[in-house]
């Protein structure tokens, strides 16, 4: 078991606290079968992979991937980047990753930055080799919006209403819990490099079989290639269904 990065500095009133979904990502991404996949997909002397996590929150997953790069990707030369809409999550992520990186200097990749942004809107096209997304997946009536004041500045005391909005943003997924996830799925063809792989967390309420089928039928895989979507990690059985699962998405 690779050690889980410390997040004791993270303000959990403002940033999503690592939970079962985060730990499922850690287990799945560091499994022997993931290592085999990564090693053949990103062989040691191929160009340095760029790893992006969307919505890193506390930064626990991105810090894990960065600090243990050599164990997870069989090479320490990876670049990592986190994009979160919540500025407090960005600050937490930057700190969590650099602390974990310092703790594991011989196996660690290079952390580029935490960026405050809306999903992948600020990225140059087709640069991401590994995309990780633990989305706001809980089915809800509405999709929350970031309070206007928190888009620009973080000065001043955060009100109780703003706090609850920030936490709501981290879990509320709108219709089927898929409104935000669907935007990311639709952008995969533009965001991933030719060899790019995405890891997406889904809950049972997201109708994962239908989601995977929709991905396989997307038509922008490129000449002679198809989208693949396979479940590579699960946790928590509930009434015969896996409560959470990780889907690996790539083209071949």
């Amino acid at each position: 078991m690779l050690p889980t990065p410390s997040t004791s500095h993270v303000p959990y009133t403002l940033v999503y606290e690592p939970a079962e979904d985060s730990f499922l990502l850690l287990d799945t991404l560091s499994s022997p079968t993931s290592l085999t996949f990564h090693t053949s997909h990103f062989p040691p002397s191929s160009p340095t992979p760029l790893v992006l996590e969307i919505g890193p929150g506390s930064g626990v997953v991105l810090a894990f991937l960065t600090a243990h790069a050599n164990h997870i990707f069989s090479r320490p030369d990876i670049l990592t980047l986190g994009i979160d809409i919540n500025s407090f999550a960005c600050a937490s992520t930057a700190k969590t990753v650099s602390l974990a990186s310092q703790d594991h200097p011989t196996t660690s990749g290079e952390f580029l930055s935490a960026v405050q942004g809306d999903l992948t809107s600020c990225l140059r096209g087709r640069q991401v080799d590994v995309l990780v997304f633990n989305p706001p997946y809980v089915p809800t009536e509405d999709l929350p919006a970031l309070p206007e004041r928190l888009r620009e500045k973080k000065e001043g005391k955060v009100t109780f209403e703003e706090e609850s909005k920030l936490l709501e943003l981290s879990y509320a997924g709108g219709k089927d819990g898929m409104e935000t996830t669907d935007r990311v799925i639709d952008s995969l063809g533009d965001v991933l490099s030719e060899r790019g792989v995405a890891y997406l967390l889904l809950c049972a309420g997201n109708k994962p079989e239908a989601v995977k089928q929709r991905i396989r039928e997307m038509d922008n895989a490129g000449e002679g290639r198809r989208w693949k979507a396979e479940t590579v990690g699960t946790s928590g059985r509930q009434a015969g269904w896996e409560k959470l699962q990780i889907v690996r998405i790539w083209r071949e």
Binding site: A91, A94, Q116
Partner: protein
């Protein structure tokens, strides 16, 4: 944020993306900081093929303008990217690239789009790409 991050970012305004002037973003009033990172030649060699060299040259020229706070010295980049052999045999170039890509951080300032002119703030090393509602 590592200066290298600019090699992967563009303007977040949808209509800017089709224009080549939206990349790279232009640093303004940049405050830099330098990290002490151990040189890793293998990383630089593997990174080389995926860099946009022209954009990197632009970034390094702009961020080190005399008007900016610059405590580090001027790495001079060649016009075209070195080959792996050149990089491996040129110690100075290797060190310059290492210092530029792995050690230089942009802490405060702005990132300006060459198309729409929007200025993205960088505070405490974190750039903010959220757009005001009228641009979304």
């Amino acid at each position: 944020m590592k200066l290298l991050t600019l090699n992967f970012l563009t303007c977040a305004v949808k209509t800017c993306k089709s224009s080549s002037d939206s990349f790279p973003l232009h640093p303004k009033d940049a405050e830099l900081a330098s990290d002490d990172v151990e040189v890793n030649p293998e990383l630089l060699v593997n990174l080389l093929p995926r860099l946009d060299w022209k954009a990197l040259k632009t970034t390094s020229a702009e961020v080190f303008l005399p008007s900016c706070i610059y405590p580090l010295g001027f790495p001079q980049l060649p016009d075209s990217p070195p080959t792996i052999e050149q990089l491996q045999s040129d110690d100075k170039l290797l060190k310059d690239l290492h210092s530029l890509l792995m050690e230089t951080n942009l802490m405060e300032g702005k990132l300006v789009c060459g198309v729409c002119g929007h200025e993205y703030a960088v505070r405490e090393g974190i750039p903010n790409f959220l757009l005001p509602s009228h641009l979304v």
